[in-house]
């Protein structure tokens, strides 16, 4: 049974064209790009080409692109570098809904590094309050780190305004842009952030490669020290095939932004509307106004997310859940809690994240099977709405 894969915010399929471009560099062209000989040099040139492709997607210069292993590394590097370059500043600002790649670093810095952090909240629709950001900035604020779009709800933050507010006060800005590449256009010539992190495997490149934009002139403190690779900013022999794959994936992604925002968006909308129409007591988490074109996060009251996922798995449908039971934790996702999604809904939340590899038939299958799954689970559940009655507890 072919999988109906709708978990692209977790990871994506490597595009066959990306794989084709990478393959020779596993076998015939395996030279070390740092070597002096022609054999390595040709690999080095290919890496330069990849850097140019990434820079073109970002709207920056190739020298501002730093290849690394993943989005997490990019986030960690940016945050630590920003703080290390301004030792006199001890405060940083982030949001309550960041990915753990940011949240856990900030918490660690608070606990062990003697830093103070402000966590910006979000409203019920998952939106930031820019006034809260304005008020939070202090003379000793070293960094504002706000994600570009949320991985769970798909809500896109007004990163242009966030960056402008911070820059007006001379504060460095980092954004985790892992979810937006290829989905939301941005241009670093006009978007005044200092650091921006992306990850290859979210954009149809392989796992284990990422890129960090570091604006020219921004003081930088390397996270990895060793050889002179990446101009001494990230030591370690390059993941050449990964980098080549990321370059190609960026090129394809740029050409596909229109498709993401028309075809993929339309499939997502059909899925969302269809589910809301077919299943009572369901709701979308996060604003529908400013959202990634591929993501919908829907909560089904009275049922539990893991149970839904497992039943969908029987039909080969892959999605993910913000329910507690899918993780080792016993509380539902920090993002849904930050939005104030009631527990009764939060436990039964499912995230569908589509890609250009999805088809209308995939959407049909989910629309066909999921409402039946929900009603089966609701039959088992002791909590249910009796006809005509208002929904039970929404604590």
């Amino acid at each position: 049974m072919a999988a109906v894969y709708m978990d692209n915010n977790a990871t994506t399929k490597v595009d066959p064209a990306v794989l084709d471009e990478m393959l020779p560099y596993f076998s015939e062209l395996y030279g070390n790009p740092s070597s002096m000989h022609t054999f390595g040099g040709q690999v080095g040139r290919k890496i330069s080409e990849a850097r140019e492709r990434v820079a073109a997607a970002f709207g920056c210069t190739p020298g501002e692109v730093l290849f690394n292993a993943c989005g997490t590394e990019g986030d960690n590097t940016a945050i630590r570098s920003a703080l290390a370059s301004q030792p006199e500043k001890r405060h940083l600002i982030t949001t309550r809904v960041e990915h753990p790649a940011v949240l856990n670093v900030v918490k660690h810095l608070e606990k062990k590094g003697g830093y103070e952090a402000t966590y910006l909240g979000v409203d019920v629709e998952g939106r930031l309050d820019l006034d809260e950001l304005r008020d939070a900035i202090r003379p000793d604020t070293a960094l504002v780190s706000v994600m570009f779009a949320n991985n769970e709800t798909g809500v896109v933050f007004p990163i242009q305004e966030v960056a402008e507010i911070a820059k007006e006060r001379g504060v460095l800005v980092h954004t985790d842009a892992v979810q937006v590449l290829g989905k939301v256009p941005f241009d670093l010539k006009t978007l005044p952030v200092d650091f921006l992190a992306v990850s290859g495997h979210k954009v149809h490149a392989p796992k284990g490669v990422g890129a960090l934009f570091v604006r020219k002139g921004t003081q930088f403190r390397p996270f990895m020290m060793g050889g002179h690779q990446e101009h001494g900013r990230r030591a370690g022999t390059e993941n050449t095939t990964g980098i080549i794959g990321l370059g190609k994936a960026c090129e394809i992604a740029m050409g596909n932004i229109g498709h993401e925002n028309s075809v993929v968006r339309a499939m997502r909308d059909r899925l969302e509307k269809g589910l809301l129409a077919a299943v009572p007591d369901a709701r979308v988490n996060g604003t529908t106004e400013s959202r990634l074109p591929n993501t919908t996060n829907i909560s089904f009251q009275y049922v539990e997310g893991e149970a839904i996922l497992l039943m969908m798995d029987a039909f080969g449908i892959c999605a993910s859940s913000g329910s507690a039971c899918t993780s080792g934790s016993l509380e539902p996702s920090h993002v849904l809690r930050a939005l104030g999604v009631p527990f009764t809904y939060a436990h039964g939340s499912i995230r569908f994240s589509l890609s250009r590899f999805n088809t209308e038939a995939d959407v049909d299958l989910v629309l066909n099977e999921l409402p039946k799954i929900i009603s089966r689970l609701r039959e088992i559940s002791p909590f249910k709405r009796t006809e005509g009655e208002a929904p039970a507890c929404t604590c």
């Binding site: 329910s323 016993l330 039959e379 909590f383």
Partner: protein, 280 residues
């Protein structure tokens, strides 16, 4: 994704005995929507105390649904007392095992059964629900935790969380869980010695107060951990008169306790020339 056995999957996809029993004579309810899992168990018990029918409704993950289904299968046809002998371990074993993080689902099954039996017998609550709430996030009492430790031979705080959910939220109760674990394992809590600022040259009243504080807050709780106790009878000048109680009173080494522990500590904390004497 969790590694589930085929049996768990089977009982999740095709659960047995789902639904309500209209004329049930026992209903047990545990868990809540906020906690993320809940189970309502219906029993039909005949005049010979035999469970002739059992059904359930569960809100929760695959393990919760499978555990409920397994429980109803296991207890149908048993007498109430036989059913009560089914442990949460038995439920997990019936399913070929559960991931350790999901053991609380089997505990929920056991608790629902006890709640239903209490309901059948007209008792207000199942015994485990008594006690003081230790974990506020999940409303877990000290009694539930003590029981989970004893019945499942738990040896770490993480295991307590796996089996009861206590400690799985804000984490505020983790210290208390560690204390309960230490208590259950018969280990002594490490009592922090009180920090006493000794005034130079004590008056009788000051000495009395200080001795009494050290005995009440430090020495007595420590002896209690071994089933004994101590009581201050009087302080006459430098003589501290005490009575040993409980296990200490009959203990062969009580004189040792008195000199090596009580007197030594009081000398350190109050005055170096105090003498502790036992009055019988």
């Amino acid at each position: 994704m969790w590694e589930y056995t085929d049996k768990v999957r089977e009982h999740f996809i095709n659960p047995k005995n789902v639904g309500e029993i209209a004329d049930a004579n026992a209903v047990g309810e545990v868990g809540s929507l906020a906690c993320g899992d809940a189970l309502k168990l219906f029993l039909k018990v005949d005049e010979n105390d035999r469970i002739v029918d059992a059904k359930f409704q569960t809100f929760g993950c695959a393990s919760a649904i499978a555990s409920s289904s397994a429980l109803t299968e296991m207890i149908k046809g048993k007498t109430v007392d036989e059913a009560l002998a089914v442990s949460n371990q038995d439920i997990a074993e019936f399913l070929g095992g559960l991931p350790k993080e999901k053991m609380h689902c089997s505990v929920m099954g056991k608790e629902a059964l006890e709640a239903a039996v209490a309901n059948l017998r007209g008792q207000p609550v199942a015994p485990h629900q008594e006690g003081e709430v230790v974990c506020e996030c999940f409303g877990v009492t000290d009694e539930t935790i003590r029981r989970a430790i004893a019945e499942n031979n738990l040896s770490s705080v993480e295991e307590i969380t796996d089996y009861t959910k206590a400690g799985g939220g804000c984490g505020k109760c983790l210290d208390k869980l560690a204390d309960l674990l230490a208590e259950a394992k018969g280990q002594k809590k490490v009592l922090k010695p009180l920090e006493i600022v000794k005034p130079a040259g004590l008056t009788n009243l000051q000495r009395m107060k200080l001795v009494s504080k050290i005995i009440d807050e430090e020495i007595s709780p420590s002896l209690q951990q071994d089933g004994g106790n101590i009581e201050l009878v009087d302080v006459e000048g430098k003589r501290v008169l005490v009575q040993l109680r409980g296990a200490c009173s009959s203990c062969k080494s009580s004189q040792l306790t008195l000199k090596q522990f009580v007197e030594k500590r009081l000398r350190d904390a109050v005055e170096p020339d105090l003498i502790v004497e036992e009055v019988r």
